[in-house]
């Protein structure tokens, strides 16, 4: 767990992190649903990428 891979929840905007395997899976499938531990809502990083004009989250 040397590197932690932070993501921002697109619902509540709080940050938490993923393990290496899940973060690598997101690269090939950005639409993969994550679940925020703070607001407990599902979200995907793909949505945020769209908001940012296609840039990486």
């Amino acid at each position: 767990m040397a590197k932690v891979h932070y993501v921002e929840c697109s619902v509540c905007r709080r940050e938490y992190y993923l393990d290496r395997i899940l973060s690598e899976a997101l690269v090939s499938n950005p639409a993969l649903k994550l679940k925020c531990p703070f607001c407990r809502k599902e979200f995907s990083v793909a949505k945020k990428q769209e908001e940012m004009g296609g840039k990486c989250a």
Partner: protein, 427 residues
């Protein structure tokens, strides 16, 4: 309580379940939080616990009893009647994804040999009839899971919570064997099993458990699980783990719901005696002068080992370090001290490091070894391990003597001769 160095068993009698109602089941927590209780569980003492652990690790085959005699069958819920949310499942830390079972002994049967593996595995409760089970690639459970995956078969699993503490200690064995037999060895009698509701005699369940959940784990479907507060006292990152559908819950009528507090003594101590026993035996085979091994809670009872040694030559401490570090993948730092240093006291070990080591010659560093992913300082599974030789030289005439108050004085002087009764309370 922990900050006050107290480790009582705590029972909470009115706890809301996940449906928001007061649960029928009281919550028990910190059952494993004291070495004294673990020793009591197998009729041992704190001092002898690791050695008695090895003695108990002998198979006693389980016996099958009729369902009518099984306390765990007093309440049975199956199919759509199953509602995990009726249980008082605890969410432990701020960033945990949600409620987790933290005390389950998870049973998986080898599809080839029929042996059953029992492992203490945390489980995310993702729905009223759905679980997501955490998997550690290094564990035997995963070894069996991979066999089911190759057969393209879902995995029948038993999730058991609440039993005699000796049951839990036996289930920590590292032996790849039919573990209910080892549990019998720890309990000193055959473990009673009874047929499951879902698979009958094909998959048996512990008959005298508080709660048994029968479930089917997908060999291919995964779902989100974690963050979760791990034994290192850091959150493990969110990950994907197998989706598991609950088929039945059976329990005692007056069952207790057993919770283990992750990252604290309740969680850390449960397999510490087992690790100490394994390390002691491994080291003893190479360096017979080893006296005792202690896995301190300050090192998460996994990452640090204190080894007490009756040294016969100055090469032994580093041999101890190399042997110990290659005997448990999680162990990261080894501190070797002399027999006069109390390895159950962190302060004494640090005193020995402060006064009996010179790091240009006494520090041993082993980079590129296999460690645990849960160590946030490691490079995934690759870690740097090391150890300190904090022993005196074998030649007593080449080293200073430790200060001592004569034993006769310590025996003669009594505090009550000098202090008022009221003042004695603080000592």
């Amino acid at each position: 309580m922990e900050s006050r160095k107290k480790q009582p068993v705590l029972i909470f009698e009115k706890v809301r379940n996940l449906n928001g109602k007061i649960s029928e089941l009281p919550v028990v927590i910190n059952l494993f939080g004291s070495r004294e209780r673990l020793a009591d569980a197998i009729g041992s003492t704190v001092q002898n616990l690791p050695m008695d652990y090895i003695d108990r690790e002998r198979p006693i085959p389980p016996v099958m009893i009729d369902k009518s005699q099984a306390a765990v069958k007093q309440v049975i819920q199956k199919g759509q009647d199953v509602d995990l949310y009726e249980l008082p499942i605890v969410t432990h830390h701020e960033m945990d994804l949600g409620p987790y079972f933290t005390s389950p002994s998870v049973w998986v049967k080898d599809p080839e040999t029929g042996w059953v593996n029992c492992a203490l595995i945390r489980i995310y409760v993702s729905g009223p009839r759905q679980l997501v089970v955490n998997f550690n690639a290094a564990r035997h459970t995963n070894y069996y899971f991979q066999k089911y995956k190759a057969l393209k078969r879902n995995v029948p699993i038993i999730v058991m919570m609440g039993h005699h503490p000796a049951f839990y200690m036996g289930a920590q064995t590292k032996l790849l064997t039919n573990e209910p037999e080892i549990i019998g060895g720890f309990m000193g009698e055959p473990l009673e099993l009874t047929p499951s509701e879902t698979w009958g005699k094909e998959i048996m369940v512990p008959a005298q458990a508080d709660i048994v959940i029968e479930a089917e784990m997908s060999y291919e479907e995964v779902a989100i699980e974690a963050p979760f507060g791990e034994y290192t006292q850091y959150y493990g990152g969110q990950r994907l783990n197998p989706v598991t559908e609950v088929k039945a819950i059976t329990r005692r009528k007056n069952a207790y719901y057993l919770d283990v507090m992750p990252g604290h003594a309740d969680h850390l101590l449960i397999d510490a005696p087992m690790i100490e026993a394994y390390l002691y035996n491994r080291i003893k085979a190479v360096v017979p002068g080893v006296v005792a091994v202690h896995m301190p809670v300050s090192g998460n009872a996994r990452l640090h080992a204190y080894v007490q040694l009756r040294k016969s030559n100055d090469g032994e401490p580093k041999t101890v370090i190399a042997t110990a570090l290659s005997s448990d993948y999680r162990l990261k730092h080894v501190f070797v001290v002399d027999e006069d240093v109390n390895i159950f006291d962190d302060a004494e070990v640090l005193w020995a490091v402060a006064t009996r080591s010179q790091w240009d010659k006494d520090l041993m560093i082993l980079p590129g070894m296999m460690g645990t992913r849960l160590d946030p300082s490691a490079n995934d599974i690759i870690t740097t391990k090391g150890g300190i030789d904090a022993t005196k030289p074998v030649d007593p005439h080449s080293f200073a003597q430790r200060i001592l108050i004569p034993e006769a004085v310590l025996t003669r002087v009594k505090l009550e001769d000098f202090l008022e009764p009221g003042d004695m309370k603080q000592f």
